[in-house]
């Protein structure tokens, strides 16, 4: 570091930066300090941990895929629209981000539950009951994760310079081809970031899941639910599970950092 005169305003920035970093770092240190390393592998290989891990991966990836499949058309519709319907839909889409997840879970029950206005007929006619199934976990996770994807994708679409698409149109490219060969590659970083954020949100989902899908080992008990249960019975298992969750998230973010969150 060069010994130039220090600007006092630097300190003004460094203090909150230090506090913020500590806020992220200290809980992690606490977790690592209490990890039962000698029994780590044994805990990790237990049926309950593996079940929760498998469920978490399947459901969060499913939710991320659904978020992409439903979110991309929604985002492009929102990005292009200025109508009142558009603004209303945008509020609707963002609602799950501010709603406490437990409330979201109750709302999902009221809609898709056995007595829900959609779930009721669904069960009577098709015999399909969503609550307490793995499907319900994916629905709950999609409900909370989708807004994150839509928001990120819409921001990308809005900053996309439409003149590129217009130029392609003058060269005779049809609508689909313009989207596929011009728009999509140019907004790809936003979409990738959107998928990662949606996936991460789905992986950590707790409130909506335990309310809507319940808590059953092997069926609906994802890693966050397993942590919650284990914390009350076997705190050491809870720490191992938490560490697994942290490691998966950190690993993904680390592997994708250069590609999806480019550092200049």
């Amino acid at each position: 570091m060069s010994r130039t005169r220090r600007d006092p305003s630097t300190l003004l920035v460094l203090v909150p930066v230090g506090i913020a970093v500590a806020l992220f770092l200290l809980p992690l240190v606490g977790l690592l300090a209490r990890t039962p390393w000698s029994r780590f592998l044994e805990e990790l290989a237990s049926r309950e941990v593996l079940d929760a891990l498998r469920l978490s991966l399947v459901c969060s990836l499913g939710a991320a895929a659904l978020s992409f499949a439903l979110g991309l058309p929604l985002a492009s519709w929102l990005a292009g629209g200025v109508s009142r319907t558009c603004s209303a839909v945008r509020v609707l889409v963002l609602l799950p981000m501010v709603l406490p997840p437990v409330v979201g879970g109750v709302a999902l029950l009221l809609a898709f539950g056995r007595n829900g206005f959609l779930g009721g007929p669904l069960e009577r006619v098709f015999g399909i009951s969503l609550p307490f199934t793995t499907g319900a976990v994916i629905v709950a996770e999609t409900y909370v994760a989708l807004p994150f994807f839509v928001l990120t994708a819409e921001a990308g679409l809005r900053s996309f310079d439409r003149r590129f698409a217009a130029a392609a149109a003058t060269l005779g490219a049809g609508r689909w081809r313009r989207f596929r060969t011009v728009t999509l590659p140019m907004i790809a970083p936003s979409l990738q970031a959107g998928i990662v954020v949606a996936w991460a949100r789905a992986l950590g989902e707790f409130g909506a899941t335990i309310t809507f899908a319940g808590n059953l080992a092997g069926e609906t008990r994802t890693l966050p639910l397993a942590v919650y249960v284990a914390l009350e019975t076997r705190p050491e298992a809870a720490i191992v599970l938490s560490l697994v969750l942290v490691s998966i998230s950190a690993l993904f973010l680390f592997l994708l950092r250069e590609r999806w969150f480019p550092v200049r």
Binding site: L109, R114, F132, A213, G214, N215, E232, P235
Partner: protein
């Protein structure tokens, strides 16, 4: 986009800050903090109201959660003056290694009952029906006293039930019964009594039922914080007994 993000962070930081305030207890505050199991919610709210009327200036702060959650919070150092639980094992886990050991007193008993959604859509007449494959039945998790008692009762009756979800507290279980998502749930008789307007129920006969004993303890009796002892005495008093009776809790 940028200013909106910083606004988000600001509100998040405020929320974290506020949550932090709730966790720190100032040394000699006049507020008495009571940790009680979820199944005691209604009765303890009434007890606290009556206590505060009796002792002007005294202030109680009630904290309800599933019993094992309270145990973890207390073991990790949550500041509470009184702990009232749905089973004795949980109190022992909190007191393990505490010297001097404060006296633990049983203040009530409870029993199990079957909670049903209004109209009993599953047509359930008793414990034996809970084994039917066409029903969606749930219990509290085995780590929750209510879940453990329910499994004991079912085992005693020789019925195997596949719990659709191991609910984290009796309150959560009752809510799902009330919404009609479950055909039945095994909870405490007192839960069924206080939710009688919203749910139906079927009693469990004495020979199959499990009697839960509810202990109460004033933690860390301290000259500066005598409120804990006073509240425990009140719960054990004749007036406390009357209130507990009105919520269906049996005498110890």
């Amino acid at each position: 986009m940028r200013p909106r993000v910083s606004l988000w962070l600001l509100s998040l930081a405020t929320a974290v800050g506020l949550a932090g305030c709730g966790g720190t207890a100032a040394g000699a505050s006049p507020t008495t903090r009571v940790f009680a199991s979820a199944s005691l919610t209604d009765a303890f709210q009434a007890l606290a109201r009556a206590f505060e009327e009796r002792h002007p200036g005294a202030e109680l702060e009630l904290h309800f959660a599933g019993t094992p959650r309270l145990v973890v919070q207390l073991r990790e150092g949550a500041a509470a003056d009184v702990f009232a639980a749905a089973d004795t094992v949980s109190v022992e886990r909190v007191l393990a290694g505490t010297v001097p050991r404060p006296p633990v007193r049983i203040f009530a008993t409870n029993r199990l009952a079957i909670a049903l959604p209004r109209g009993n859509p599953g047509g359930i007449a008793g414990l034996a029906d809970l084994g039917r494959a066409d029903l969606t039945v749930a219990l509290c998790g085995p780590e929750i006293p209510a879940g453990r008692y329910a499994r004991q009762a079912l085992e005693r009756a020789g019925i195997s039930v596949r719990s659709a979800s191991d609910e984290p507290s009796v309150r959560a279980l009752i809510a799902k019964v009330e919404l009609g998502e479950l055909d039945a749930g095994v909870v405490y008789a007192t839960d069924v009594a206080s939710a009688a307007r919203r749910i139906d129920s079927v009693p469990i006969p004495d020979e199959l039922n499990v009697v839960a004993t509810c202990p109460i303890v004033a933690l860390a009796p301290d000259e500066d914080r005598p409120g804990g002892e006073a509240f425990v005495e009140f719960v054990l008093s004749a007036e406390g007994r009357r209130i507990l009776d009105s919520f269906g809790f049996g005498a110890p």
